[in-house]
Symmetry: C2
Subunit: 351 residues, 2 copies
């Protein structure tokens, strides 16, 4: 289970108000947390799951492995900069990378809807393979199921991944320290805007492409250079704000971000205004935050900026020294805004 945390402060929309699944349960915000906390965690209760990191860390014999899964239900299947196939590979590769693992093997489970053009399927499968080759992973096992027309939406893909952890770091929310720096590897909001614009049939002056990309190589470069990483998280469903709110809650610490330091492309910011989204909450598929000691910032930024996936890397804020669980955004004129989880979803079926 990704990102849930039972320690969130007061919860205005308890699950008991719902007796059925609503779209908001899939948005990555408060309702998703409630669902996971109320139903999945109590049932599957075990110490590995309770770590609630992007991938489970397992000891098998002498080997430390990372293991993760994600289902992809993005709509539409094809969008500028990617498709459900590349997304399904990169998303799972990135979850493995967030424990500092070297991704090795993926599985692929496809749920096909009756009527899906085989040409589309072929395009998606080829895209999965290209993404796998780029991320240096092999798709080694799979499964296909077919559901009746009107019981799916073209194709849903699940990928699970196995990676090997070759370092001795513990990369987890529990490692976050007061005073740690928060690095971001590039501009935010492109994936969500690309998908939503494509869904709505909107076009902007420039084409906004998803940032969908594999992040494992970037992370491994940091680890190989001896950078002392405390925590990593990729900024998918719920975006930068949700990821940091979750990490702050897990670590029982606060954070202070400088809005001016957070890169958002002008066209993305304009599109967000038109569509009524806050880029801080928009999903990315090639972005991560890296939380690490102050002393490691210069080296880490240098490595990130030299990497294709980190050219726009920036120091965007710090973990607060005080015991305050809030994530606070300071804007250009010094005003402070408390970031909070969205209740439901701003962008359904974005990944």
């Amino acid at each position: 289970m990704k990102n849930p945390d039972p320690t969130f402060p007061s919860c205005p929309t308890p699950i008991s108000r719902y007796d059925r699944i609503v779209m908001g349960h899939g948005g990555g915000g408060r309702l998703t947390h409630n669902l996971i906390d109320d139903i999945f965690i109590p049932a599957f209760n075990n110490s590995i799951l309770r770590q609630l990191t992007d991938s489970a860390v397992l000891q098998v014999g002498e080997q430390r492995l990372a293991f993760t899964t994600d289902s992809y239900v993005v709509h539409p299947l094809f969008f500028p900069g990617g498709d459900i196939g590349s997304l399904a590979v990169n998303g799972t590769v990135n979850d493995l990378a967030m424990s500092g693992a070297r991704p090795l093997y993926l599985s692929a489970g496809c749920i096909l809807e009756e009527g899906l053009p085989l040409e589309d399927l072929k395009k998606i499968v080829d895209s999965m393979q290209r993404a796998a080759a780029a991320a240096k992973v092999q798709l080694v096992t799979g499964d296909t199921k077919v559901v009746d027309r009107g019981r799916g939406d073209g194709i849903y893909i699940n990928t699970a991944g196995i990676g090997v952890i070759e370092h001795d770091l513990k990369i987890a929310p529990s490692q976050i320290q007061p005073g740690d720096a928060i690095l971001l590897n590039g501009d935010i909001g492109r994936h969500g805007v690309a998908v939503m614009a494509s869904r709505a049939g909107l076009s902007f002056e420039t084409t906004i492409e998803s940032d969908c990309a594999p992040l494992a190589d970037l992370v491994l470069k940091l680890i190989d250079a001896g950078v002392e990483i405390h925590c990593l998280r990729d900024l998918t469903r719920g975006g930068l704000a949700t990821a940091l709110i979750e990490l702050a809650a897990s670590a029982q610490l606060g954070m202070e971000l400088q809005e001016a330091a957070i890169p958002v492309r002008e066209d993305v910011s304009g599109a967000c205004e038109i569509m009524g989204f806050d880029p801080l909450y928009v999903a990315n598929e090639g972005r991560l935050v890296c939380i690490l000691p102050d002393a490691a910032v210069d080296q880490a930024l240098k490595i990130m900026r030299a990497h294709p996936q980190g050219q726009g890397a920036a120091l965007i804020g710090r973990v607060s020294a005080v015991e305050n669980l809030r994530v606070i955004l300071k804007n250009r004129i010094g005003t402070r805004r408390i970031l909070d989880l969205l209740s439901g979803e701003q962008l359904p079926r974005i990944c």
Copy 2:
């Protein structure tokens, strides 16, 4: 990818006749093979995938691991003897067991349809946990997505699994030898009949319950006793006939089965007659074939019959010594029937 094999003889329904997915592509028969052979294998082409066993066998450091995935789209979600939750756990545990692995960890990816009663979700999740505990595996990582009403069917579950291989046997179709014995661990057809009867609202004099059960412990007991297993396969989608046709094709050998030796419960056989199914092609979720040398038969049957999952174990046939790729069924009066893959599906959404 499960069970496909490019070596099948002439194929009367080439994929090129279809330009869209049809239900038959999910039936486990010839169309499923075509889909996998024409689209997935050429794209994901790698030596591990090409083994085409129930789970991929991976070398990670010193460790031999089994890795597998399956998506579960069974309809209805609840049926006599099980539900989609227990099915999703046992199905993947069994795929791991078919390489002789000890199943350790599962992932769970749930695609929830807007409107699913939370009470149903809770029942299913609890059932997954009970099945996991019974099979001695841990559900360590997961993901939930929500799709709009009319884009799913309550819940689809993907599970992927990791197991550790602690023996030196190579258990694979390539190990099958002429003269090998074919053992079956119990009566066939119950899972498919239970689901279909439940779907059709049929009731029979006796309730036919799914045979859904974990098979890993049974397999490990055989391995621990030193039984020289050549090949294992569980008899899910497509049933006993499809599994053996696939194994015969992979091994480039024929098989001869004694119909009288194949256990089918009378009520199952009656229900199949009413519904127009052939029990040989009906899905099971707690049945396997074990192919092994003649000399190991007595010991293996003794171990199987002493185990809750093998009480009805039987020797049902032999691998032919001649080079004949057919799977032949001899009935009680000596008539011979050639078993062939079904073209599409007899039972859609059975697992």
